[in-house]
């Protein structure tokens, strides 16, 4: 069969370590298919000052029965926690099985391909331009 193109949109993987619970993906999703639940935890106070409070991710689920693979969540995420993968063979016999929880979304990260090379003549990304000469590919 055909080889998968570099930016094939098959399934979405989550790198939980990068997620800061900004909720942008859940808000921008046109299908309302990203479910995020979290709670606040207080870290022990340092020598001075009050205890730090951080958000802890309880649940991150994507309902692939609703998902229309637009990629808005991946583009909206400011912290590179969501990635495209080309995997497409995940049919289920029950529709509940199409809602992938965060452990299964982490599994998809193993299938995320390396980013394709820049097109010839493409401008450098903003970060490489800011880093000065010598940065960027090639």
């Amino acid at each position: 069969m055909t080889d998968l193109a570099p930016r094939s949109r098959g399934v979405i993987g989550l790198l939980e370590e990068n997620c800061t619970l900004c909720m942008l993906c859940a808000r921008e999703c046109p299908d309302w298919c990203i479910y995020i639940e979290s709670h606040k935890e207080a870290l022990p106070a340092p020598e001075s000052g009050r205890p730090q409070v951080r958000n802890v991710l309880d649940r991150f689920a994507i309902d692939f029965s609703l998902c229309m693979y637009c990629g808005i969540c991946i583009e909206a995420c400011p912290y590179d926690a969501l990635f495209w993968s080309g995997e497409f063979a995940y049919s289920e016999t029950s529709i509940a099985g199409l809602t992938h929880e965060k452990d299964r979304l982490r599994e998809w990260m193993w299938t995320v391909p390396p980013p394709p090379a820049h097109d010839a003549g493409a401008p450098l990304p903003r970060e490489a331009r800011a880093a000065g000469p010598g940065a960027g590919p090639g």
């Binding site: 069969m1 055909t2 998968l4 098959g10 993987g13 790198l15 370590e17 046109p30 299908d31 309302w32 309902d63 692939f64 029965s65 609703l66 998902c67 229309m68 693979y69 080309g86 995997e87 497409f88 063979a89 995940y90 049919s91 289920e92 016999t93 029950s94 529709i95 099985g97 199409l98 982490r106 990260m109 193993w110 299938t111 995320v112 391909p113 390396p114």
Partner: protein, 161 residues
């Protein structure tokens, strides 16, 4: 906290399976048992194009009826958005199928209403009106995804008998 880092560029067995051709004799769809298949496509919207592409490939995977294949299994592939106006016709198509019959829901719209879940005239999934055996996710799913969905569907048939 030690967490395993993902290996970029790895492939899963699932992709390799989809790339496999007909394979050795008897190892095709249905878990090695010869199955005669009749596929009825309810091509309601864009997913119909992908099903057409897949069914052409399907014919290569299982070219002709084999001896001893038994009575055909009828599969209704619902591909596309099920609107409220068309829902009774989809139900009639299912009722008109003779037994044994299976239903494969292809694409987000027929799985759950998909991107049109909030519309005023869309049935939120074919399983609202007919029983569905396999759901193939995608918008639209690749033609290869239909082949994989069929494998899952027919493996159930092979296991049941």
């Amino acid at each position: 906290m030690d967490l395993p880092l993902p290996r970029l560029g790895g492939t899963r067995a699932g992709v390799a399976l989809a790339d496999a051709g007909p394979g050795p004799e008897g190892s095709g769809l249905g878990g090695g048992r010869a199955i005669s298949l009749r596929v009825f496509e309810a091509g309601l919207a864009c997913c119909a194009v992908e099903v057409s592409a897949a069914l052409r490939r399907f014919a290569e995977l299982a070219p002709q009826a084999e001896e001893g294949a038994g009575p055909p299994v009828h599969v209704l592939v619902v591909a596309g958005t099920v609107t409220d106006k068309l829902a009774p016709l989809v139900r009639e198509a299912y009722r008109a199928l003779p037994e044994p019959r299976l239903v494969l829901s292809f694409g987000a719209c027929s799985n759950s209403g998909g991107p049109y879940w909030d519309s005023y005239c869309v049935t939120k999934g074919a399983d609202q009106i007919i029983p569905v055996d396999v759901y193939v996710p995608g918008c639209p799913p690749r033609p290869e995804a239909l082949v994989e969905g069929m494998r899952l569907l027919l493996d159930g048939v092979g296991a049941a008998s």
